[in-house]
């Protein structure tokens, strides 16, 4: 075996709040390989890569980089040594352009030296993902930001690129782009440490895989020696169906319409989107990054001041009395009418990262936990949150912890839990399983089915077409802000959805535009 590029020995990490995230992890990454790292939410993956990247000092243990023991003084030191990291939370500077973010770590004298744009164009070409170098990062949706972060890491020309769930917010097309880039670069000698909850990605992409469970390594083998079942078992520590092959519920024809969207338009974003969702139905929205799926959900929820059209929840028209749907009136009316909304950007839109879990969970239906609608009953808020922690398998030190102290997948579950115990009739879920581990993903999808079974109407946006087909009875394909096709889950396939989303409709396309 060749000398490892990176070697960790007996690394432990205990956070100031007492959480022991790593309990003696050893790991060797060989040069030029793609090394997979998997584990359940809260297993310690992100913590481990933060130790590797110099973000957290390890509590104990050693890190050897190219044969030399190192203690990174700061993340810059690791980067300069040839180790680039894409963190799970995509840390970019919103007020700077894409170009400047991609080359944020560059030294030299001139801010944008001659040739930088060419270098950027080159990089974009190599990745195969076009993005406007002058767009402000703050204006980009989360998927595009993820791609910028990838560009940033690739631009560093590092020997080892660490990627923490790079594809969690990407759709199939972009995911392919990332795969191709990883393969190409590893062929040229760059090593990758690749974290993902998509086991198919791990099996397809990596040469070696390490599984973490509760801060310990429970499996460390060449990928060739494992299969999905083995991985699932070591991740969760129990037997588990990877993706349940239960067919989605098809609602009765006579089931009442819960959500009726007609002629929903928004200049530059959406054009004449119409659809209905019946009680007991799960409707999926498929599309590429930036196709407008999130914008549809936001507009229905009343978070688009420029939107027009009619929206009815059980025959009650909402957002009608205003010019637009925006401000804080829109969401308030939507909540009052019985809509629940899990937005895609959980940190910016879904969570109060510094409030305790129980205050996050009770916020949307606070009045219902309160005496006279005015004085919250803390006990019942806490009880409900404890129940959510159990129901969704949230790994947390307790309900007093804040989302800031949770792992990515667990934070996502909190954003979901907020709506769980209200009496919403319509659920809008934007990437509800982003960053959620295999076990929990099955649980969440089960939960979505149960919502439908309880007679709710659910609209799901998820970039995984497989997941859409597993949970939805019907799928709308969105492209450039329009619904371009409609399929029942039974009569379509991932491949067809992909083609439709890319605008390569089969002759049989029923164009909705």
């Amino acid at each position: 075996m060749t000398e490892p590029l990176l070697e960790l020995t007996d690394v432990t990490k205990t956070f100031p709040n007492g959480t022991r995230a790593l309990r003696g992890v050893s790991l060797r990454v060989a040069p030029g390989t793609v090394h997979g790292l998997v584990g359940a939410n809260g297993a310690g993956k992100s913590t481990l890569i933060k130790v590797i990247a110099g973000v957290h000092p390890p509590t104990t243990g050693t890190l050897t980089w190219r044969g030399i023991g190192r203690t990174w003084r700061d993340p810059g030191a690791a980067r300069r040594a040839g180790l680039a990291t894409i963190h799970q939370h995509i840390p970019l500077v919103p007020a700077l352009s894409v170009l400047e973010n991609v080359f944020l770590d560059r030294g030299g004298f001139r801010r944008t030296p001659a040739g930088r744009r060419a270098e950027f164009a080159d990089l974009v070409d190599r990745l195969g993902y076009p993005v406007d170098p002058d767009a402000l990062v703050g204006d980009l949706p989360i998927g595009a930001r993820q791609m910028v972060a990838i560009l940033q890491a690739l631009a560093a020309g590092a020997e080892l690129v660490v990627m923490d769930e790079p594809t969690a917010s990407l759709s199939e097309g972009e995911r392919r782009i990332v795969f191709d880039a990883v393969r190409r670069l590893s062929g040229q000698g760059t090593a990758f440490l690749y974290i993902s909850h998509f086991l198919d990605e791990i099996l397809e992409l990596t040469g070696h895989v390490t599984v973490l469970r509760d801060g310990r390594v429970v499996l460390d083998d060449p990928t060739a020696a494992v299969d999905e079942e083995i991985l699932v078992r070591s991740i969760s520590g129990r037997e588990l169906q990877a993706a349940e092959a239960v067919p989605a519920l098809v609602p009765e024809r006579s089931a009442p319409v819960r959500l009726d969207v007609a002629g929903l338009s928004s200049p530059g974003r959406l054009a004449d989107v119409s659809f209905q969702v019946q009680a007991g139905e799960v409707l999926g929205l498929a599309g590429l990054l930036g196709s407008g799926r999130s914008e549809i959900l936001a507009a229905v929820f009343g978070d688009d001041p420029a939107a027009t059209g009619t929206i009815r929840v059980e025959d009650r028209r909402i957002h009608a009395h205003r010019r637009g749907f925006g401000g804080d009136r829109g969401p308030r009316d939507a909540v009052a009418a019985g809509i629940a909304y899990v937005p895609e950007d959980r940190v910016r839109q879904g969570l109060h990262v510094d409030l305790p879990l129980w205050q996050n969970v009770s916020l949307p239906y606070l009045a219902s936990y309160s005496r006279g609608g005015a004085v919250p009953r803390v006990d019942s808020e806490r009880a409900q949150t404890r129940r959510a922690v159990g129901d969704l398998g949230i790994v947390a030190a307790g309900i007093e912890t804040t989302p800031a102290q949770l792992s990515g997948g667990n934070a996502q579950k909190v954003a979901f839990a907020k709506w769980l115990y209200g009496d919403a009739k319509v659920w809008l879920l934007d990437e509800p399983t982003a960053g959620v581990d295999v076990g929990a993903k099955a649980d969440l999808l089960g939960l979505v089915r149960r919502l439908a079974a309880d007679g709710k109407a659910v609209v799901v946006v998820t970039s995984e077409f497989e997941e859409l087909l597993a949970v939805c009875s019907r799928v709308l394909v969105v492209r450039r802000g329009r619904v371009v096709a409609e399929r029942t889950a039974a009569e379509t396939s991932e491949e067809e959805l992909m083609m439709l989303a890319q605008g390569l409709g089969t002759p049989a396309v029923r164009d909705a535009g």
Binding site: A334, D354, V375, G408
Partner: protein
């Protein structure tokens, strides 16, 4: 989380640092004043004075805290207070005290509404908007007063004005009160621990015995040790306001939503919170409180000078931030802001008591401000590496 853990939690240095800073400051002043051979620093009269002097600043610190929690910023309150005072004093003659009082409060509320609407709906930075109203309203004060100090005409109106600030209330002996409180507390602990098993006996006996004995000692000593404080009416207003605000913030949906609004307005809005309303109302409250402070000021002083109450906004902000309120929303406690205000007032009072030369006061005040903030910042500090969640 068990009850016996929760109580000390809120008393931890990192949680209540400003209170410890206040205690430390008072301790230093007590020692220094004893060393100079003066009357005990904490004698009832000086305590009464400190409370009285904190009243107006404290009220503004409380309402400023609310604006800060909501995620905004208000520099206009010093000017608004002066306007409230000027309006009230100049209208007492023509329309009588109560209508004048109403006009003053309404004007304060209106300026707050203006701030709130411009900040929230036009979307201009609160700093520049309230700097604008601070300047503009001070200009209004000059116009209303024509640059002169205004005094109310003598008569019924002036009497009514004085009456809203004239009351005084002498507390019962505080040693007795504290003793009784401790005894009740011990009793409550005994009662809540009824059901706890033998293994907690030691803990239980300590948890009950310490306050119990302390209580008995205090009650027994109370005929000899006497400490009664005189509360002026404005102090009472402050205490009532603090109690109400603390209760609302901590125990009601309004409070919860206010914190949510300031902490992450976007997430709050998408959870159905009327974010704009909360933010605007915080400004309105602050304006109204400022006008009320102006009226109290004029009742205390009997007049208002056109430059009066200048700079109060910065002091109120300092009190709030010393109390741990975040500048950018979502975090703050009116009780701690009150402690912050007490630090600022105690410090100046201490200078007066110790007869410290004016030249040195600024330097010491600046240092104390930083040290007080450092005292608990250091203990609250986020781990060197900021928690990173996505």
């Amino acid at each position: 989380m068990p009850a016996e853990r929760r109580w000390p939690e809120s008393l931890k240095l990192s949680r209540a640092g400003v209170v410890y800073a206040l205690v430390a400051l008072v301790a230093v002043l007590t020692v220094a004043s004893a060393a100079q051979g003066r009357a005990p620093y904490l004698d009832p009269m000086n305590v009464s004075n400190i409370l009285d002097q904190t009243a107006l600043l404290g009220i503004l610190a409380v309402s400023t805290t609310i604006v800060l929690i909501s995620g905004n910023f208000d520099l206009s309150i010093g000017s608004v207070a002066a306007l409230g005072a000027a309006l009230c004093l100049s209208l007492i003659g023509p329309i009588g005290f109560w209508p004048a009082f109403g006009v003053a409060l309404a004007t304060g509320a209106l300026v707050g509404l203006f701030n709130g609407v411009v900040v929230q709906f036009v979307g201009i930075n609160a700093f520049i908007v309230t700097l604008g109203t601070m300047t503009g309203v001070r200009g209004l004060v000059l116009i209303v007063t024509d640059g002169r100090t205004v005094t109310p005409p003598t008569g019924d109106g002036a009497n009514a004005l004085r009456a809203i600030d004239a009351g005084r209330w002498i507390t019962p002996n505080l040693y007795l009160v504290a003793g009784i409180a401790l005894l009740l507390f011990a009793g409550w602990r005994l009662w809540t621990r009824r059901s706890i098993g033998v293994r907690d006996a030691a803990l239980r006996s300590k948890a009950v015995l310490v306050p119990g004995i302390a209580g008995i000692v205090l009650v027994a000593a109370s005929p000899v040790l006497i400490f009664t404080v005189q509360l002026t009416q404005r102090t009472t207003y402050l205490l009532v306001l603090v109690a109400v605000a603390a209760w609302v913030l901590r125990f009601t949906t309004v409070g919860r939503r206010l914190y949510a609004t300031g902490g992450n307005p976007e997430a709050a809005r998408l959870a159905g919170v009327a974010v704009n309303r909360y933010k605007v109302l915080a400004f309105v409250l602050n304006g109204t409180a400022a006008a009320f402070v102006g009226v109290l000021y004029s009742a205390r002083i009997g007049s208002i000078n056109p430059t009066g109450l200048t700079g109060y906004e910065l002091t109120a902000l300092a009190a709030a931030i010393l109390g741990g309120t975040a500048l950018f929303g979502g975090v703050g406690s009116v009780l701690k802001s009150l402690a912050g205000a007490l630090i600022l007032v105690t410090l100046k009072n201490g200078f007066n008591i110790l007869n410290l030369g004016a030249n040195w006061q600024g330097l010491i005040e600046g240092l104390v401000l930083i040290v007080a903030a450092a005292m608990y910042t250091v203990s609250t500090r986020r781990p060197t590496v900021r928690a990173t969640t996505e």
